[in-house]
Symmetry: C2
Subunit: 333 residues, 2 copies
DNA sequence: TTTAGCACTGATGAAATTAAAGTGCTTAAA
DNA sequence: TTTAAGCACTTTAATTTCATCAGTGCTAAA
């Protein structure tokens, strides 16, 4: 158990390091506290014994360890009000009724990337709670036709297909069959229903069933595709801890390769706090020098995950609040 | 006018520098030619006088100047066969009939970025030659409705709109009006037709015309939006000439800001060669250290520009061939 | 328990040194 | 007239040396 002064010192060091990216010495801290640098030094040594602080070399100032950040996040951090300026920028997005929800999400995280210089990730799933509303076909010529599929929440997918050698009747029969059999089916159950219920039947009644079946199967599965958007990747270049090109390349590569693991759902919830999850260093599965803060959102239309990726030395308080704010706005919209 | 040997030396220097990114000395060249290093040195001095070569400092080897690259590209370069491996990767894309054309284009350039480590840009315009085929509405609930618009070439745009306070009759009336008046209209003429012909009429017959008009206007203009895709931007990190973070950031920023100018249409055609345009250094409007190679494609469905952005020390012969090959495949598809 | 004092450590940056790569020029040979 | 050999000269890049600075840990006194 830490004393109050130890907590205060740890907090100051974390905050100072987040601000300046330079190891924090005892002098700086003792100016903020009513005690001498020697006192601070001995407290620092204790905190280091506890594994909360680290040195970069024997005579350097202190840097928070992974456990130090964790302690700060869990016990010391206070939420930080979103500045008026930032709030305004976000409101401009959410109050714009022209924008679709998914565009709002993307744009608001783009703004977060802009104002924080971190990288943001959006993983959206449309399948949630959507059921099939209507399948339409629009013939374009003798050769081509567009299939348009709409869900009850207003998602649309389409595909242009080649229908040479298939008669319009055949196609219409198929569409009628599909419409009759699977309208109202939840999107994520469609592919199995298509496979086990529809396929046998159109196989019986329709000549070119193999080809037609594939087309429809294709359009339907598009709905269950998750979309991943990553914004502000090159912000990493602005961070002082990544000043050598080799390291930057490594991190960018890991980011590309491990996007999925960032937004992976079955990660255990580290902090219960309003469902904001914080993964520090090794916990991220990306890079030991990075932190991921993320949360899930859920509307009646779609659900997904939004995440901010930055250095361990991330402005935790600010990012947590921004994410909470965005999550609320998404869910209210 | 250059002698044959001078041409040979210039060509070797350009090729060697493209390969190694290090100033080329006379020794290396004289090993490839049947003459002494002193001879090569004096030829180099001549080429430098002509402005085709440069030195990085008094006693360094030679580097091609912008004019040197230009001379190489216009007079010395021979097309380089696409390797079997590369060809295979591209064929895998183009022979996949499941993929829409625009996905093919994107994916094939993604491959080019992968194999060359340059950045690729696709600018696609759907408006080309498309006319309006059909406007459909699908009511979802009392509040919401989806508008689906289809062109004769199979492009689809849609938008979910809030229709609270507007009767279904009103909406249907509007859609019928629009369908009657503008089906068959080329996409890029729709907005003016909508403004000057349709608006006055629905203004007369429909109550909530202001709101409805805006919705349709919105969906239609989506078609004329150009899509810009940039792939492999972080490949710049792999180039030895950009080894300092500051420079990389600068280039990435310029890339972001000037994408439009890369694919700008009214650039004059530098090389007549099969409509492949090569812009070197200053000619690019991006960055004096970069080169852009681009070409336009045109199918009966859409048209656009594909471009590769890399260092001046770019594998011109390889990239030109890859672009030509992709252009052909797009247009054949 | 706190603090002043002091010796010690490692990083950082400037200056000095050296080796390597490559040039230009002069002169002699082909 | 063209080519090549020899040599002095230039610049870079890598290495070493040195001094300075920020910051520590420890001891002893308040």
């Amino acid at each position: 158990m830490l004393t109050d002064r130890q907590k205060e010192i740890l907090k100051l060091i974390v905050m100072e390091y987040i601000k300046g990216a330079k190891p924090v010495g005892s002098n700086l801290i003792c100016e903020m506290l009513n005690c001498s640098s020697a006192t601070v030094r001995s407290e620092m040594a204790t905190l280091e014994e506890y594994g909360l602080l680290e040195k970069t070399h024997t005579s350097s100032g202190r840097v928070p360890s992974e456990e130090g950040y964790r302690y700060y996040v869990n016990n010391l951090m206070k939420p930080k009000e979103i500045s008026g300026e930032d709030m305004l920028k976000l409101q401009l997005i959410f109050s714009n009724n022209q924008l679709e929800l998914s565009d709002c999400i993307k744009k608001s995280l783009e703004i977060v990337s802009d104002i924080t210089n971190y990288t943001s990730v959006v993983l959206g799933t449309k399948s949630h709670d959507n059921t099939l509303k209507e399948v339409n076909i629009v013939p374009l010529s003798e050769k081509n036709m567009v299939v348009v599929v709409i869900t009850d929440k207003g998602f649309v997918e389409h595909k242009t297909i080649n229908v040479e050698g298939i008669s319009l009747e055949e196609i219409k029969k198929t569409v009628t069959l599909i419409n009759n059999m699977i309208i109202g089916t939840p999107i994520d159950e469609i592919s199995s229903k298509l496979e086990f219920e529809v396929k046998p039947i159109i196989g019986r009644y329709v000549k070119e069933h193999e080809r037609l079946y594939n087309v429809f199967y294709n359009v339907f599965t598009n709905f269950t595709n998750k979309s991943v958007d990553v914004m502000g990747k090159s912000n990493i270049l602005k961070l002082p801890e990544f000043s050598n090109v080799e390291k930057i390349r490594e991190v960018l590569e890991k980011l590309d390769d491990n996007i999925d693991s960032i937004v992976e759902e079955n990660k255990e919830d580290e902090t219960g706090n309003n469902n904001i999850n914080i993964y520090i260093g090794k916990e991220t599965n990306i890079d030991d020098d990075m932190t991921v803060i993320r949360t899930r959102y859920k509307t009646d239309k779609e659900e997904g995950t939004i995440a901010i990726v930055g250095p361990k030395r991330m402005e935790y308080d600010r990012v947590v609040n921004l994410l909470e704010y965005i999550k609320e706005n998404i869910e209210r919209k």
